[in-house]
Structure formats: C-alpha cells, structure tokens
Amino acid sequence: MFEQYYPIAVLVLLATVLSIIVVFLSRIMGPRRPTPKKSAPYESGMSPIGPAVRRLPIKFYLVAVLFILFDIEVIFLLPYATLVRELGVYGLIATGIFVFILTIGLVYEWKKGALDWE
C-alpha cells in the first residue's frame, strides 16, 4: 500500500548518500593550509567563546522585521508584474489593496519613529 511513497524513500536515500560523498570529497580533494583565523568556526569575526546570549541593539531586529515585510511585498509584486495584463482590473484592485495595507503600516512606523536610527 505504500508504493507511492517509494520515490520519497529514494530521495531520502539519495540525499543522505550524496551529502556524505560531498563531505568526504572535499576532505580528500581540497588543499589544506590552516591558519588560526581559518580554523575559527565563523569566519565573519564572531567570537565563538564567551556568553552565548549577547546583547544586540534592538534596532537591528526592527530593521530586520521591516525588511521582511517589504521583502514580501516585492515577492508579491514580482509575479504580479509578469501577469499584469492577464489579471487586468481585478488584479490591479487586489494588488492595490495589498499595497494600501502595507502603506498604512509604513506610515505607522514612520510616524512612530521606527525608521529613525538614532
């Protein structure tokens, strides 16, 4: 009764095997010239030793959240742009409502000072 799940099983198997192969391949084939900086887990400069929870200015989170919001706007608008003729007036109205609601949010945060860095 589970015939239809076979592809999934194959996929899981494939993914596992492939990832193992890739890890081993890089180990075997890649040149290795370690320096202390390179050996650190994060190359971006984050120190892995110290308190795990560090304080970050809340502004970063704020910007990140706002970014997600408008990012989603773009995600919606992009496909709309490709179909703008087919969707016609109906699409225009629907997208308009969407943008309008987002605009309200923009006005709100602007007015609340969420966009002021200092």
Partner: protein, 494 residues
C-alpha cells in the same frame, strides 16, 4: 486563466468583517494624529466601528435566517447562522473589551491607542475563524487572532508579569500553530485539498490515505485545542491570564476561546464526519481531563485571575463535551446549538466576573487576590450581588445562563451516548466536577459577604454599564432561555 468574478467574492456577506478591518486600518493612522492625552478618542472611535459592524450584523441576521448560508471569496469562507451568531458574540465581546479598557488603561498608566486597534484586528481574526471554510483560512484567521493577543498580553510592558505572559503566550502559541500547520499539511497530503467540503469527500472516497488524514486531523486538534485551553495544551492559560492586563484577559478568555471553538466545530463537523468516532472519542477524553484538571486545580488558587483562568479551562471542558456530542450526525445540530448557547452564556458571565475583578484591582496591578473582595458585600452591595450572580452562573446554579448552558450541554452529550458510551462517563465527570466547582466559586461569594474588609472598588460608568448589561444578560438567559436557544439551534452549519 480563470479569474474570480466579483459575485463569487461576495463582499456583502462579509460586510461586518470588512467594516471592522477597514476601520481598524483607518484608526491606526488616525491614532497617530490624536495627542497622547486624548487617547480615549481612539476608544470611542473603535466603538463606533464595532457598532457599525453590529448594525451590519443585525441586518444579516434577518437575511441569513431566510437564506441559510452564502459562500464568499470563492468558497474560502461560509457565512451561515452559526457564524452570524458567533460574530454577534465576538462583536459584543469586543465592545465590552473596549469599555473595560476605557478607565483601566489610563489608571494603570498604559494607555496607548494601539490597544483598541489591536483589539479590532483580533476581533476580525475571531470573526473569520467562525466562517472559515478552508484550512488555509483557518490558519490565517488563527494567526490574525493570535498575534494581536500576544502583543496585548504584554501591553502592561513595565510589569514583568505582563512581559512574561506575552513571551510565554507567543512561544507556546507559535509552537501550537506549527502543529496546526503540520496538520494542515498532512491533511492536504492525504486528501489533496484544503477546502473543508473537499476534505470530507476525499475522506469518504479514498481510504488509502486515511492514516495521513487522520493524523492530520489529530494535529489540527492540537492547534485548536491550544487556543481553547484544553488539557494538556492548557498550561499557558493561568500564567498568561494572570500576567496580561485584566481587560485583555477578560477579552481573550471569551473571544479567543469562542474563536477556537468556532473553528474546531466547523473543521470537525464539516471536514471529518467520516472519522467522527475517532475525534469524538479523543475530544470526549480531552473534555473529561479538562474538566477534572481545571476544576480541581482552581480550588487551590488564591488569585482571582488565576482562579478564573482555571475556571475557563474547566468551562472549555464542558463545551468540548458538547463538541464530542456533535459526532453523532443526528444530534449534531442540537450539540452545536448547545455549544454556541454555552459560549454566549459563558461570555456574558465571564465578562461580568472580570469586570468586577477590574473594579477591585488597584492601580499598581495588585488587588487581584480573592481576599481583596472581602467586605464588598457591604460597601458595594449591587456589585457584590452581580458578582454573586456570575459566580452562581459559573457554578451552574438556577436562574442563571450558566445552568441552562450546562443543562443543554449535558443533554446533548446524553443524546449522543448511544453512539459513544464513553460520553456517559464524561457526563458523570462533568456533573461531579460541577459540584466541585461550587467550592471555589462560592468561596468568592463567602469572602464578599462574610469576611470583614475594606471592600474598596473603583466603578466608573463604563464598568457599571458593562456590569448591568452582563448581569441582565445572564439573568435573561437563565429565566427565558427559549428565544436565544431557538436562535442557537438555528445556528447550524450549512
């Protein structure tokens, strides 16, 4: 490409929701222009919007009494007697939520216009919950309901308990929502659709994917069970109820619960009639556990908000009992009537009880112990009388809506006993725990009347109005339940 046409969107059917949604957006911007010291303007404007929705609902009552049901948004939502009845409950609850906050927020120094706007948004979520005909809509509505409530719980941000409540609610809420989404995914995997009616067809015709769908249903149950505070998904309730500002607690103890039940009923009865005995048994067991735990733990509470939190868990159990009774299709309509009647009676009573709690609470957030009610019988005889009525109603004593609600719930369950003998045991648990509940409800009355105390309470006009209205409603439901129950009976799913 097939585009939805305007008729299938059917904006008129969801007019009350549209009114509140539009008004909330406008209010959000408008609130920016209102000076800090005049935030009660926002409250009154929010009331205007809610009253507008109430008027629209009023006209819809007649309309749907004639026509039965209408689909909107291409079948994504269904507006029928059930959803109209519950929408009335939601709008009334929201009105009370605004009135309760009117004095509370400035008194506690946390008055901000966002309170009212968020209240409107969560109300929309509840309303859409009650009409959702598609699992995606259920999810969206659930989030729309929840997220503003997370924020509202933390509205008294300077108090640690409030912050803690918000964070806990958010974390656990997100956790539970993830189960809901997973349930939706499994259901979709099993049936190939998220439309409730489509699921029902697929479940009956396709036995192959039944395990997938059944487990999906179980996970949906988890997500919604969390919202209605059913055991074992109830643990957030006391902490959040206690920590959140009291008007928010009052609002969500009624609104969020009713919203959860609305979706639960609609999803189970519409989408999963074929596996009714599975979910019926599950819900009956959960109902029994919920009644037992809520009532028993409530006994050892000394804080009124915490006590009411456990009480709300217990009442979720009683309502779940009626939901379990809906598994039998012959008496599904009676059981659903019992659920919505109970929700209305519970809403009135609980809002009233919280109103009294708000009146007794002091400006610094203390004064929420049951001992603080001492002496109210002398200093505030009318308020104490109303509180006594609410407590009696929650216990299920005569001349109160609570009794009638319980009678209907037990009757519904007993009617379904032939289909599921387990229900008989749960009914017995329900009756016994009702008796147990008298312990802690009557304790409040005892403290008010028999114990000496200052009996201080602040009761501005808005609270008086709410108190009078809820007490009157509780009494009316208790004395002449007939008309409302007939309406509730008609509140069937179409």
């Amino acid at each position: 490409m097939q585009l939805p046409i305007l008729e299938s969107i059917n904006l008129m059917a969801v007019l009350p929701v549209l009114i509140i949604a539009g008004w909330a957006c406008v209010l959000l911007v408008f609130d920016l222009l209102i000076p800090r010291s005049r935030k009660h303007w926002t409250a009154w404007l929010a009331l205007v919007g809610l009253l507008g929705a109430a008027v629209a609902l009023f006209f819809q009552i007649g309309h749907f009494a004639r026509l039965g049901s209408e689909a909107a948004f291409d079948g994504m939502v269904t507006v029928d007697g059930f959803s109209i009845f519950l929408q009335v409950v939601f709008v009334l609850t929201a009105i009370v939520g605004v009135l309760l906050a009117l004095d509370y927020l400035p008194r506690h120094g946390i008055e901000r216009g966002e309170y009212y706007v968020l209240l409107l948004f969560t109300t929309i979520g509840m309303m859409i919950m009650s009409m959702a005909a598609d699992l995606i809509v259920v999810f969206v509505a659930l989030e729309l309901l929840s997220i503003p409530l997370y924020i509202l719980s933390g509205f008294a941000g300077m108090r640690e308990t409030s912050e803690e409540a918000a964070l806990k609610y958010f974390l656990l809420g997100a956790f539970a929502s993830s189960f809901l989404v997973y349930g939706i995914a499994l259901t979709y995997g099993g049936t190939g659709t998220t439309r409730l009616t489509g699921i029902a067809q697929a479940v009956t015709s396709d036995a192959l994917n039944l395990p997938l769908t059944t487990v999906g249903m179980g996970l949906l149950l988890v997500g919604l069970g969390f919202k209605v505070a059913a055991v074992p998904f109830h643990m957030w309730t006391p902490d959040v109820y206690q920590g959140a500002p009291t008007p928010v607690t009052a609002f969500m103890s009624v609104g969020a619960k009713a919203g959860g039940f609305a979706a639960l009923i609609r999803v189970l009865v519409t989408a999963f009639p074929a596996i009714a005995s599975e979910w019926g048994t599950l819900i009956a067991v959960i109902a029994g556990l919920t009644m037992l735990l809520g009532n028993i733990v409530a006994i050892s509470q000394s804080n009124i908000k915490r006590m009411l939190a456990y009480s709300s868990i217990a009442h979720a159990g009683y309502i779940l009992l009626a939901v379990a009774a809906a598994q039998r299709s012959e008496n599904a309509s009676f059981a659903i009537g019992a659920v919505v009647f109970y929700l209305l009676a519970y809403a009135l009573t609980n809002l009233g009880a919280f109103t009294v709690a708000i009146a007794v609470e002091r400006d610094d957030g203390t004064g929420t112990e049951i001992d603080d009610f001492a002496g109210l019988g002398k200093t505030r005889p009318w308020m104490a009388l109303a509180m006594a009525l609410f407590m009696l109603s929650l216990t299920g004593m005569p001349i109160s809506g609570g009794l009638v609600g319980k009678v209907f719930v037990f009757q519904a369950a007993l009617q379904a006993v032939p289909g599921d003998p387990l229900l008989l045991a749960v009914v017995i648990i329900g009756v016994l725990t009702s008796v147990v509940s008298a312990f802690y409800y009557l304790k409040v009355i005892m403290v008010m009347y028999m114990r000496e105390g200052e009996g201080k309470a602040v009761l501005p006009l808005a609270l008086k109005t709410v108190l009078a209205a809820t007490a009157f409603g509780t009494l009316v439901l208790g004395i002449i339940p007939g008309p409302v129950f007939q309406m509730a009976q008609r509140a069937m799913l179409k």
